[in-house]
Amino acid sequence: MSDKKNNLHISRRQFISTAGMAGAALFMSGLLPGLVKKAYGKKISKGKSIANAENIKDVLKKHFGNRKIENSHVNLKLPIIAENGAVVPIKITSGLPMEKNNYVKKVFIFVDANIHPYVASFDLSPANGKPDVSMRIKMRKTSNVRVVLETNKGKLYGAMKSVKVTIGGCGG
């Protein structure tokens, strides 16, 4: 009986001490991020606003002027969540014809949040038979991926999809 009592006593003591530790840990954890932020505040803000980053709107305007991009005829296959931003597979398919006088001339890929949103372009010809391409791209962080197809008649077709990135892929 006395043994049990002793046990209980110790466990209660232990409980109090562990509870105290937990409380202290909580307090510290609440304090720590603030301290870290204070110490590295300058660095964090510097990383967020990169001076020569381009805006997606300006880039689109530079490539297409004021021409309207129709959101149809383009299918985009992208992962919803990309574990690694350095390798994001992208697959573009489209039912647009590839005939002699009516074909897709160019395929553009843009990523909004990259420092240079323009990623790649493909110049196709009727000899391709299909305006479908796929490749792997880098993404700095979670953002939209846009694809624009330009036909030889000057029409623009586009598609957009959001990809969540857990580890960025542009370094720096």
Partner: protein, 111 residues
């Protein structure tokens, strides 16, 4: 030049019927450095080194041209389609910004 850069694999379907639209897959070994990354030991920036130009010739005609930037993943993979209407070599040429030219030719033999 570091070892292993410019190794190329091109995959073409085994049985090709004449006039069919066939997929071509190509892979090249290349670091595709962005120029933003830092060497963790020395703290120095690693200079940009990437492929910016890809040309695909079917026979003697240029059928596809690609304009790439730093945002293409390392060891770039690309796949596209061609219309196999003649027996001719398919030549792919990659060019990087330091003047490296890598090329490989495969034979397209429709039955």
């Amino acid at each position: 030049m570091p070892k292993g850069i410019g190794r190329i694999k091109i995959r073409v379907p085994r049985n090709i019927t004449k006039g069919a639209v066939i997929p071509i897959k190509a892979l090249i070994t290349h670091p595709m450095e962005t120029g933003f990354r830092k060497n963790k030991k020395t703290g120095k920036k690693i200079p940009a080194y990437y492929i910016n130009d890809v040309n695909v010739y079917y026979g003697d005609k240029l059928i596809t041209h690609c304009d790439w930037t730093i945002a293409v993943s390392a060891n770039p993979f690309m796949s596209f389609y061609i219309k196999a209407d003649k027996a001719a070599p398919l030549k792919m040429v990659w060019k990087d910004i330091k003047g490296g030219v890598y090329e490989k030719t495969v034979q397209i033999q429709p039955k």
